[in-house]
Point group: C2
Chain length 180, copies 2
């Protein structure tokens, strides 16, 4: 069965710096019409970055949408036309100071398919070289390195509280336990 919802009218509600918001009038499979509020986002990258000491590299930052600080794996949004791997290398170095000899693609996933098209490309770093972080002028982050056990505690206390970071902690736990 074809569930496609065809746009019959599209109204631009907002064109911003990071997101655009559009209201679509759509036809449903039963012929009726409905409205869909859609947020368009350029997409993002996120990095699973584990040090030689098996510590997960994360950043603590204030998230205005949540009105609180949380600890997340390094991430950043795609610039227009930028290759996700280039974004990943740039964000890793800017946010944490680390450089990596290679990037392995782990997965990609939509974050909020109900209302947004944000797609996150998730990479895993290779061998790390330490450098100096150089965050953007209006970006304030603190680098944190945590063992898996420490990261799991941070999930319990909700210091870690977002989907991509919780996925990463699970991924690393599974990987480390299968190579022990």
């Amino acid at each position: 069965m074809d569930f496609t919802e065809k746009t019959i009218n599209k109204q631009s509600l907002y064109q911003g710096k990071i997101i655009d918001v559009n209201l679509h009038d759509v036809t449903l499979p039963n012929g009726k019409t409905s409205k869909r509020e859609i947020v368009n986002h350029p997409g993002a990258v996120a990095l699973i970055c584990v040090t030689e000491e098996k510590k997960l590299v994360m950043v603590r930052q204030y998230r205005k949408a949540l009105e609180k600080e949380i600890v997340e794996i390094p991430a950043g949004k795609l610039e227009k036309g930028e290759d996700p791997e280039d974004t990943a290398k740039r964000e890793l170095e800017e946010e944490t100071g680390y450089q990596t000899d290679y990037l392995k693609k782990v997965a990609s996933f939509y974050t909020s398919p109900g209302f947004a098209d944000e797609l996150v490309h998730l990479f895993e770093t290779g061998t790390l070289t330490e450098g100096k972080a150089a965050t953007d002028e209006d970006e304030f982050v603190e680098v944190i390195e945590a063992t898996i056990e420490e990261a799991e505690k941070m999930i319990e206390t909700e210091e870690i509280h977002d989907a991509k970071t919780m996925f990463a902690v699970q991924y690393i736990k599974q990987k480390l336990s299968s190579t022990r």
Copy 2:
């Protein structure tokens, strides 16, 4: 160090049926100002629902934001003031027809902390009783039951392509392997 970004002005850009969009002028820790585009969402529930045959119950549906059908674990947004556990029970029955004798809270997570406050409450079902699905008038979903191996293949083919479902598949895989 306190990274709090204080709102000095807030402009409502859109008040919709599901999302509100606001533009905040904020002061940064360095005293400068910046703008934050924020999507406010009522939050949602999602369900890890495994049958006696160890199959994961999912739904295939068209996602307008992605302009494609994907397969996801059952989910739905919170009604105003509704207890997430009640939402979870309702959505499970509406979307899949199943009823559960209890719900276990697995986790909660923000889906897109960079621009949205959507929080997903993730539950795991107990013993299931079969019933009849009764989806909303403008909701078209097909119920799918897949083994973990089948679900992993659907991740490879990107039929499963969202963070909560990929987290759920990892969670169930870890759980089943530890109880084998």
